[in-house]
């Protein structure tokens, strides 16, 4: 395997992805990611000098609309999906650590 994923790298990826992995998951993730990156390295066989990266097949641009109040938010329905709510607001755990 050409790509060796270090503990530091997988730790960093866990932070970016907001995932906490068990020891077993972590070892598996290192192996899986290493293999995938080995495979993705195949792209380096291609000379892409001067090729523009293509994010979308068609040219896309932002679509704008007027920012108008429509009263169509359906607050009650939306809040019904919330894991925890209080006084028409979402409740979250402590944002600051003690």
């Amino acid at each position: 395997m050409a790509n060796i994923i270090s503990d530091e790298t997988i730790e960093y990826v866990g932070i970016l992805a907001k995932l906490s992995l068990s020891e077993e998951e972590r070892e598996q993730a290192k192996k899986d990611m290493g293999r995938m990156l080995d495979y993705i390295d195949k792209l380096n066989e291609l000379d892409t000098t001067g090729v523009e990266p293509m994010s979308h097949v068609f040219a896309v641009s932002n679509v704008f609309r007027e920012d108008e109040v429509t009263g169509g938010d359906g607050r009650e329905e939306v809040l019904r999906n919330a894991p925890e709510q209080k006084d028409d607001m979402f409740v979250v755990p402590n944002v600051m650590s003690h």
Binding site: T9, I10, Y12, V13, G14, L16, A17, K18, L19, S20, L21, E25, A29, D32, M33, R35, M36, L37, Y39, I40, D41, K42, L43, N44, E45, L46, T48, V51, E52, P53, M54, S55, H56, V57, F58, A59, V60, S61, N62, V63, F64, R65, E66, E68, T70, G74, E77, V78, R80, N81, A82, P83, E84, F90, V92, P93, N94, V95, M96, S97
Partner: protein, 542 residues
């Protein structure tokens, strides 16, 4: 009348002429579900009572002359990554196990306005990540043609439901083959349209630059009819039911379709993408100005609002003079012998009936998989950031502070394949690796698109297999993710290049498992592949 043996269009005609009712059709489907569903498990959610109520309501509107479209009264199944107002939408994930959307996806709305009736929500790979429907948090689906085999994926529940007659047609989504491959494995027709043809509003995003909604159904005719309804601009009453209402419940009848100048794909040129973009800007700009506070504006910035969507005009049994290219790269190592023979026999059938069929080198096919998995994982890692346990879905119970809650919620809520792709995506987008992996993949994507452009300068259609083999056995795919990814080799470049492609049944292997034929068209050339597919289907039937 044996309703279950009818195609969606045949059933619609029977209902339209009073030979059957929407309620009888729904009862027939629910009866079939009662027999088969326990073993097959095509659906995650079915609400029989509500389905019958909806059918009754539609039947009343048919009898009142309000619903006259070709699919009015026809029961349909919806992949569980399309939002349905008031109906559980899980994406086959634990993290959305209790999510009840407050709105309905545009594609589903279009079908409902045309009178199709929702039966329930179908099983799929979690967040559409997988090729077997085995990554679902809610159990496996079995292949109706071989109970020990997978139905394919990720729209496996939709494909199996069509094949098992637990619905008359289904909606799926295709990011890397997720409509075409299960259609192939279950012996039904499945189509992914040109990127931007169907609005993605309400489709829970996986890889936004690749995702498209499309039909899984029994016949090519059904496919053309459904696609025409799916693609219709909801602000334009020309398709589906004639009494389309806008989002605020007002009748839009008699209003002229606005903005006639918008994108007409019939006249597309190499820079049609640019035209499309301009068309969208003009259109939404006008809407915003003209219809203050009322009519909804377009909700998917990549939706093209195509006008060339009379797809049924392509249902002609004629391939004389059609130029069909067979990529040699698609018939090399790794292709099962029986699949190869069935697909080449289909090509021969079209040749005998007047198509000019020849082999050519498409090139770059082997680079599509690594490019795809880089791009799809990158987009997935970004799209799935929204699942944080705050506004909806699962929340881990025992977290003391916010950041810990995010991590616990996501770690407990997502399955292994989803985590794998989120981590890979986070890595390829991270500083220091972005250029080497993500931008490199986007450059390769541009080269793949160019290879298809060159091919379509010479051919009307590209013909090949959908998958390297028929449906694998249950439990054999998930141990080796890379091997599973390799099974997507013939479908994923189509998504990278934004092309339309259809999967049509073309035989079975020695175990009776279906084999699919794939026809790929240039952007906006759905009609060519529909015509070739229809011709093949009719020739095979004869």
């Amino acid at each position: 009348m044996e309703l279950l043996s009818l195609s969606a269009v045949e059933l619609g005609a029977a209902i339209g002429t009073g030979k059957a009712t929407a309620v009888e059709a729904m009862e027939a489907v629910l009866g079939r579900i009662a027999e088969a569903e326990e073993e097959l498990h095509c659906y995650i959610t079915i609400d029989k009572e509500k389905a019958l109520e909806r059918a009754q309501s539609v039947q009343r509107r048919i009898e009142a002359g309000e619903l006259t479209g070709p699919l009015a009264g026809v029961p349909m199944a919806i992949k569980d990554n399309l939002c349905t107002e008031g109906m559980l939408t899980t994406c086959a994930s634990r993290i959305l196990g209790n999510f009840v959307p407050t709105y309905t996806a545009q594609a589903v709305q279009n079908m409902e306005r045309a009178g199709a009736v929702i039966i329930g929500k179908t099983n799929m790979d979690e967040f559409a990540m997988g090729s077997t429907t085995e990554t679902s948090a809610y159990g496996i689906t079995r292949n109706p043609y071989g109970r020990e085999h997978v139905p394919g994926g990720s729209s496996g529940g939709s494909a199996a439901a069509v094949a098992a007659r637990e619905c008359f047609f289904a909606l799926g989504s295709d990011t890397g083959g997720s409509i075409r491959q299960p259609a192939s494995h279950c012996g039904v027709v499945g189509m992914k349209p040109t990127y931007g043809t169907v609005s993605r509003f309400g489709l829970i995003a996986y890889g936004s630059s690749l995702d498209q909604v499309g039909p899984l159904c029994r016949t090519v005719e059904d496919c053309a009819v459904i696609l025409g309804i799916l693609a219709a601009d909801s602000q334009d009453g020309s398709q589906g039911d004639s009494r389309i209402e806008d989002g605020m419940g007002r009748q839009a009848v008699g209003e002229k379709p606005q903005n006639q100048e918008i994108f007409g794909a019939e006249s597309h040129s190499p820079d049609s993408g640019l035209n499309a973009g301009q068309g969208i800007r003009q259109k939404t700009g006008q809407n915003a100005g003209q219809k203050a506070g009322g009519q909804a504006v377009r909700k998917d910035s990549t939706y093209l609002g195509r006008k060339d969507i009379d797809f049924t005009s392509a249902l002609k049994k004629d391939v004389r003079g059609m130029r069909i290219g067979i990529p040699r790269d698609y018939f090399g190592q790794g292709l099962d012998g029986e699949v190869r023979r069935a697909v080449l026999a289909a090509a021969e059938c079209l040749r005998e009936n007047g198509a000019a069929v020849e082999e050519f080198d498409l090139s770059l096919a082997e680079y599509a998989i690594p490019a795809y998995y880089t791009i799809a994982a990158a987009e997935a890692s970004s799209n799935l950031e929204r699942f944080d346990g705050i506004k909806y879905g699962y929340r881990a119970a025992d977290a003391e502070e916010l950041h810990q809650m995010y991590k616990k919620t996501r770690s407990q809520g997502f399955g292994p394949e989803v985590k794998r792709r989120i981590m890979l995506g986070s890595f390829v987008l991270s500083s220091g690796y972005y250029d080497a992996y993500y931008l490199k993949a986007l450059r390769v994507k541009a080269m793949i698109k160019k290879a298809f452009d060159d091919a379509f300068a010479r051919y009307d259609c590209i013909l090949g297999p959908v998958a390297p083999a028929t449906a694998p056995k249950l439990g054999e795919s998930l141990d080796d993710p890379l091997k599973m990814y390799l099974g997507d080799i013939y479908t994923i470049s189509v998504n990278l290049a934004g092309l339309p492609a259809i999967s049509v049944p073309c035989g079975a292997d020695k175990n009776g498992l279906p084999i699919g034929l794939q026809l790929i068209g240039d952007c906006f050339a759905e009609k060519k592949i529909l015509q070739a597919a229809y011709t093949y289907e009719q020739l095979k039937k004869a």
